[in-house]
Symmetry: D2
Subunit: 342 residues, 4 copies
C-alpha cells in the first residue's frame, strides 16, 4: 500500500504513520519528494482496512497496491478450479448449460421444461422455488413444494439442480434438494448468508451484484472460500448502468477478466442481464466466444404464460437452435458442450 | 398501463391481449393508429408484473403509468407520517440528529461518544453491533455484546438507539435492545429480511440501496408497510456512480422527491455517502436546506483510532460546530433541532 | 405519446392539452379512469419535444411511445445498409477489420504498422492525426502532417483510411485525405460537427458517446442522415459505469440491439473500451459472435514505445493470432473476413 | 507515480522502466518486496500520460499519486479566484444568480424574462442563442438574432449576459455580445473549443460533462487556464446515473470538493440537472448551503409556452419566492446575494 501525505505534512504526523505501520508488521519505504512525501508499506494485505490510515492527520490518501482477496486469486492458485457436480465437471474444457424456468410454477411446467432442455443438451435444471421480487405484490415462489418438484425432476431426467437460497434459515432446507446453491444478485453482499451457505458443503453459484465491481465480487467469493468451501462458480448477470434499453448491461468483458484474476469458473446469465429473449441468442454465442465456462438460460415451454420473467425466456424452439450454435463455437474454443452421462 | 403493439401485429394477437386483460379485471381502451396499435388498461396496478404481457406475441413494450407502490405513496396518505420513538417525533417540524461511531468497539469508546453527541444536541445514538464488511478479513462487530453496550449507553444518557439488523435470525435479538431497527444499504432488497423486520414492531430505518432507483426504494418500504408496520424512516446514503472522488454520490435531490412522492420521513447519511469527513459538514447543511427530517452522522472521539470508517467520522469538535450551524438552517426552514426531554 | 394527467386534474387543464395536441395535428384518444385520466396522441413524433407538454398545468408525465429517430430505424428501411468504401463493402456478409495505431507518430511507425495489419488481413488503416486528450499536457497529434502520412500509407499498401475529425474547421481538410471520417466518442453530441461532417460526402464512423443511451446514439446518426448523408457506420466503444477494472464497460449487447432497431452497420472498438490489450482478443471474438460487422483495433509495432494508448495496443504477433481466430468465427456466422482486392 | 510490477517480473524489465523514468527526469525509489516490486517516481506530473509505462513488459499497473492538473489546483493558488464581470465579482462573498429562459425565443419573451429576473434580484441573464438539441428535429436557436436580443436586453436592464458557444467558428461572434461564454455539458471535452474559447478574452462558464469525473472537469478547466485565460467559473449541472426520476443526478457534493481541490468559483445549475421545476427551489437552497458561489436557473414568463425545457423552468412567482429564501441562507453562510449597481 502507498500512503500519500498532504502537501504540508508535519514530521510528527509522518512518524505516527510509520509507528502504526511498523507495529502492524509492515515493511516500510519512505520517499520524501519536493511536492509530496509518500510511504510505501508491504505486508499482510488482509489487515489493511482495519488500519484506518486515511483518518490519521497528514494523510491525503491511501492507495492499495495488491488485491484485497487472496484465496480467489490466480496468485494463490494458478490452475483453474474444476468443480464436480455429480458426474459433471464445471470449469474445464466442457461448457455446461443450465436452463429452465425463472420460477417453478407447477409440476407440469417444470417437468415439461426439464425434458425440453435435457433433449436440447442442457445438463443442469434451473428454477426458483424462493423468488426475490421487487414488488411485495408479485408471486414469491412455491417454496419447499418447488424444491420437491425440482428434486423429482432430477429423478426423472438426470439433470442436476441449481436453485437460489435467500435466507440463512433455509440454507439447510435448500441444500437437501439442490446440487448447486445459488446466491442471487441482491444477496451478493449479504455476508452472513455467504458464510452460512459456505458451510452447507455444496457448490455455490455466486451471481455478481448488479452494482458490484469485479473486486467486490471476488471478495464475496472470498467470504465463501475463507470458510473452507472452495467450490464457487461465478456468474456474470449484468450491471446497472444509465442505459435502459436492456434491463442491465451485460459486462461480458468480466469473463476474461475473471479468468485472468482468478482460478474460479465463470458462467454467464444473458437472460436476466438483458431481459429480452431476442438478444439472448447472440449474447450466449458471444459469452462462449469470450471464454465463459457455461451459461444460465431461462427457458419456458410457453413464455407468454410464465408467471415471472416471460419476456426474457426462450421458447423450446429457440433454445434448441441456440444449443446447436453453441456446439460449433465451443469447438472453435477447443471445448465441447457437456452432456449427461448415459 | 399502456401496451404498445409491434408495427405489423396480427388482429389475433391483439385479441389475445384484450382477453387476458379483461380476465384480470382491467378496463380497456384500444387505439388503432397508422403506425401503431396501443392498448390502454386501467386496473389493479399491483397485479401488473404477474400479467407478463411483454412475453406475448405482438407486444413491443408495456409502459406502466402508475407507481407500483401504494401504501408508501402520497396518493394513499397525504399527511406526512410522524413516527414516535419514545418521546421523540420523527418526521414533523423537528429535525433529529442520529450520531455515533460506525461500529461499537468498546464500552469506553461508546460511552464517550454517546456523551459527546448528546451534549452537542443529538437525540439518537447510532453504532453497529453487526457490521457488513466488504472483506471477510475485516472486523465484523461485537454482536450481542455490542447491543448490550448500546442499551447501557441509552440507560446512562437517555439517547435512543438505532442499530443495524443483518440477518432474519437476529431480528428478535436486536429488537430487544434497539429503538429503531436499521436495514443497511446492502440489504434494501433482502425482501425476506424486510418482511421479518416489519413484524418486530419497532420503527425501521430503511437505507437506500446503493444502486436502487427511488421507485425500488419505495417498493422496499412497501414490503414493510404491507406487513402492517407503518413506521418506516427512509435514509438517503449515496448511490453508486462512475465518479470516484467521494465514496458514493450523495443524491440529495432524493429528499424533496421522496417528500413529493411519499408521506414517509426521510433523513440523510452524508458520512457513508461521501466517505471523507471534510465534506460532511457542508453536505449536512445542504441536506437540511433540501428538506431532510434528520441526519445520520458518524462521530468518533478519535477518528484515527477507529476500527472502521474513521476517514468519514467527525471528531467531537467538528460535530459540535456542525450542530450549531444546523440550528440556524433549521430555523430558516421553519423547524427546530430536536432535543432529549430533560 | 401518452400524456398522464395528475390525480386531481381540472377539466380546464385537460381541454388545454387537447387543444394544443389538435392544433399540432395529433390524433387523440382520451381515457378517464378512476385514478387517472390519460390522453393518447398519435402524430408526427419528430415534433414531440417542441410541444413542451410536461410544463403544462395538470400534466404528471409524458410517455413517448415511438422512437424519436426515423431515418435510422428499421421501420424506415428494413434492408441492412451496405456502405461502399472504394471496393470494400461494409455492412453485409463481410467483416472488415480496421487496425492501426492510436496516433500517427512518425512515417516509419505508420508504414510499419500499415504493412503489419495489411499482411494480417485488415482492410482499413486507423490512426489519429488530431487527438482528443484529457490532459492539455499530452501529445495532441501531428495534424495535417499526420493526414499526409495516412494518405501516403494508403498509396503504398492499398489500405483504406479512417481517421478522426475534431473541429468543424478541419472537416474539409480531413475529408481530402480520409476514406471514412470518424466522430470520436467525445463529439457524439457535438451536433454542429455532425451536420458539418454529413456534408463532406464521405462515410462517417460514429462512435457511441461514453454516456449515450442507444436512443441518443441513433439520434446522433439521425443528425447525419437528415442532412442527406446515408453512409453512417456505428461503433460501440464502451460506456462509462461504476466499474473501474476496465477503462469502460464494453456494451456488446448494443450490437444485436442496433441490428434490431436500425439498418445501419455496427462495428466494435474493444481496444478503447477495455484499455488493456490482454482482453482485446477474447472480446473481439465475442463481438463477431454477437453479430458485429467489423472491428476497430489498435495495433502498434512496439506498444511500449507508443506515444498514446500503448497499454491497449496489440503487438504484431497478437494481432496476427487474433485475425486467424476471427476467420473461424466469421465462418460460423455465415460471413467472411474482408480482403483488399489484389 | 507508483509503478507496480507483476508478480514474476524479470530484472531486465525493471531496469527498462528505471532507465525510461530516469531519462524523463524522474526521481526514483525502488522497493523490492516478497510479493511485488514497486517503483516510486517523482517528477513532472504533466508528462505522465506520454510515458506509456503501462504498456511496458513487467508492469501490472501505474498508480498516479498527484493530480494531473496544476493551474486549477489549490496547491498552485491557495486564494480563491474572484472573477470580474463588469462591476460584478464572482467567487467571493457574494452569490450571483444567473437566470433566464433556456432559449431566446423572441424579443418579447426575452425582455419580459429579463425584467422579471432583474426585479427578483438576479444579476446575470442566461439564454441560449445556439441550442444543442438531442434530436435534429427540435428547435436549434435564433443564432445571431438571439445574441442581438441578449445584448439589447443588457442595454435595457443592466443585466450581464451569459450564453453558450457551440462551435469554434462562432467563438468570436458570441464573444462580441456576451459577458460570459458558456461551454455546455456536451462540449466539456471538446478540447479544441476549450482552447479557442480561452483566447476570446472573456470569462468562461464551464459546465461539467454529464459523465465527467471531478478530475476530468478540472483538466478541462486546465485547458483554458493553460492558454492564459484564468477566468473560469465551474458549473455543476448533474451527472448521468442509473436513476431516472430526475433528468440527471445533481452531485452537490462536487461544490465543497471543488472548493477543496481548486481555487476556481463554482456555481450550480439545478434546472438542467433535475429537469422538474418542482425540485429547483429546495436544491437551490441546498446548493447555497453547500457553499456554491452562485446559481444558474431557468425562468420563463410562461413555462407551458416555452419552446424548450419548459418543465424545468420556474415561473416568475416561484422565482421571486426562491430569491427571498436564498437571501436568508446566504446570510447564514456569511455571504450576501449580489445586486446590480444602481
Amino acid at each position: 500500500m502507498i500512503v500519500v501525505m498532504t502537501h504540508n505534512v508535519e514530521n510528527y504526523d509522518i512518524d505516527n504513520i510509520l509507528r502504526k505501520l511498523e507495529k502492524a508488521g509492515f515493511q516500510i519505504h519512505l520517499s520524501r519528494g519536493v511536492e509530496r512525501t509518500i510511504i510505501g508499506a508491504i505486508g499482510d494485505k488482509t489487515r489493511l482496512t482495519d488500519l484506518n490510515l486515511e483518518a490519521m492527520p497528514g494523510v491525503e490518501k491511501v492507495v492499495p497496491i495488491l488485491q484485497p482477496y487472496k484465496l480467489a486469486s490466480r496468485a494463490y492458485k494458478s490452475e483453474p478450479t474444476i468443480i464436480k457436480v455429480g458426474d459433471l465437471s464445471i470449469g474445464g474444457d466442457t461448457i455446461h448449460v443450465m436452463a429452465g424456468p425463472c420460477a417453478v410454477e407447477s409440476w407440469e411446467q417444470l417437468l415439461q421444461t426439464a425434458q425440453i432442455v435435457k433433449e436440447a443438451g442442457a445438463t443442469l435444471l434451473r428454477g426458483g422455488a424462493f423468488k426475490p421480487r421487487t414488488s411485495p405484490y408479485s408471486f414469491q415462489g412455491l417454496e419447499e413444494k418447488g424444491l420437491e418438484m425440482l428434486a423429482e425432476a432430477r429423478e426423472r431426467t438426470g439433470l442436476r439442480i441449481v436453485t437460489e437460497v435467500m435466507d440463512t434459515r433455509t440454507v439447510g432446507l435448500v441444500a437437501r434438494y439442490a446440487d448447486i446453491l445459488q446466491i442471487g444478485t441482491r444477496n451478493m453482499s449479504n455476508f452472513i448468508l455467504l458464510r452460512e451457505i459456505a458451510w452447507a458443503g455444496k457448490p455455490v453459484l455466486l451471481k455478481r451484484g448488479s452494482s458490484a465491481t469485479i473486486e467486490e465480487w471476488l471478495l464475496a467469493a472470498e467470504y465463501i472460500l475463507a470458510e473452507g468451501n472452495r467450490e464457487v462458480i461465478l456468474c456474470e448477470r449484468g450491471i446497472r448502468t444509465f442505459d435502459d434499453y436492456t434491463r442491465n448491461t451485460l459486462d461480458l468483458t468480466a469473463v476474461p477478466v475473471i479468468k485472468y484474476l482468478s482460478h474460479l469458473p465463470v458462467i454467464v446469465d444473458p437472460s436476466h442481464a438483458i431481459g429480452k429473449w431476442r438478444f439472448v441468442e447472440p449474447m450466449s454465442r458471444a459469452a462462449i466466444a469470450a471464454g465463459a465456462d457455461g451459461l444460465l438460460i431461462e427457458v419456458h415451454p410457453n413464455p407468454s404464460e410464465a408467471i415471472c420473467d416471460g419476456p426474457q425466456s426462450l421458447n423450446p424452439e429457440n433454445f434448441r437452435a441456440l444449443m446447436q450454435q453453441l456446439n460449433d463455437i465451443a469447438g472453435l474454443m477447443g471445448k465441447q458442450i457437456g452432456h449427461l452421462p448415459c
